[in-house]
């Protein structure tokens, strides 16, 4: 497992032609690993194209400050967003 809860990460900003489950609004954004999900999961990027989705991947629940995601966010400073990101989309954030 490459990342642990509490670790600072950044979502890769790369584009990906074809099906993938990393929402555009978190690409390139900095977050904190909230939890490393138990187990491994098939890859939707290959499964969508008649593949069995192996090798399986680690999956993380990542926490982003809303103010990091949306310039001019109107809610409270403490509000945040959580979403699941597959390991190969995450980079260490020094």
């Amino acid at each position: 497992m490459r990342f642990a809860a509490g670790q600072a990460v950044r979502v890769s900003a790369r584009s990906h032609p074809g099906h993938h489950r990393t929402p555009g609004y978190v690409k390139g954004k900095r977050g904190i690993v909230e939890r490393a999900h138990v187990g491994e999961f098939t890859n939707p990027e290959t499964r969508a194209y008649d593949d069995d989705g192996t090798p399986e991947l680690r999956l993380y629940l990542v926490r982003f400050d809303q103010t990091e995601l949306w310039p001019g966010y109107a809610g409270a400073e403490e509000d945040y967003l959580l979403t699941d990101v597959f390991e190969h989309w995450l980079e260490e954030d020094a």
Partner: protein, 207 residues
């Protein structure tokens, strides 16, 4: 009166509703999958029957038990699938269900920006608005505004956590037990737990 090809005014094709092209595409896809032997009509029927047989009352039973039994609540937050099986509820096949607890200081709101991921086994089919583009986009970018439109006014000191289901996890909100419900038993409490309160767009009903 017939309405054939020979009538003398022109207009767009008449369809039952805006979803008709989607329905036609789904039908065509189903026909192809059956024709190629990937699934049978019976498989599709069984899948639909299972989905429409699910209801938010199952999720409500989990929440009500969590309200009256702290140890159960801990198990629910740790592993919702096992907790559902404990109550003889069907948590469905994978994906994994994760329960998130609302407290006096924290409110969770669930969305699926990419499609319509939803804990269907425990809540039944998602409401149409959950699948709509306005909800899916605004729940992440203006969640307090969305909540206000649903009638939920969060204080500035309540921490709002929006959860976007993008992968193999399905999220179920455990709403706060309403005040003044000390006299209710578990079944009475379950009546207060609405579908919307388990998505996070409403508080549970008042006693």
């Amino acid at each position: 009166m017939s309405h054939g090809d020979d009538h003398d005014h022109s207009h767009e094709p008449i369809t039952a509703d805006a979803e008709a092209p989607v329905a036609a595409r789904v039908q065509a896809l189903a026909d192809l999958l059956v024709e190629k032997g990937v699934v049978s009509r019976e498989d599709i029927r069984r899948g639909i029957d299972w989905l429409v047989s699910r209801s938010p009352s199952d999720g409500a039973r989990l929440v009500a038990r969590a309200w009256v039994d702290d140890a159960f609540k801990e198990r629910l937050l740790e592993d919702a699938r096992s907790a559902a099986l404990e109550l003889d509820l069907d948590p469905g096949p994978a994906p994994v269900v994760v329960a998130l607890e609302n407290t006096a200081d924290v409110h969770h709101l669930v969305v699926c920006t990419l499609c319509s991921c939803y804990p269907r086994a425990l809540l039944g089919p998602p409401p149409d608005w959950y699948k709509s583009l306005p909800y899916r986009s605004r729940a992440v970018s203006d969640p307090r505004g969305v909540l206000r439109e649903f009638g939920v006014e969060l204080g500035e000191d309540t921490e709002l956590r929006v959860v976007d289901s993008t992968a193999d996890m399905r999220y179920l909100v455990v709403p706060r037990r309403p005040d003044g419900t000390e006299h209710l038993d578990e079944d009475g409490l379950a009546q207060l737990v609405t579908r919307d309160s388990m998505i996070g767009v409403a508080q549970p009903g008042a006693a």
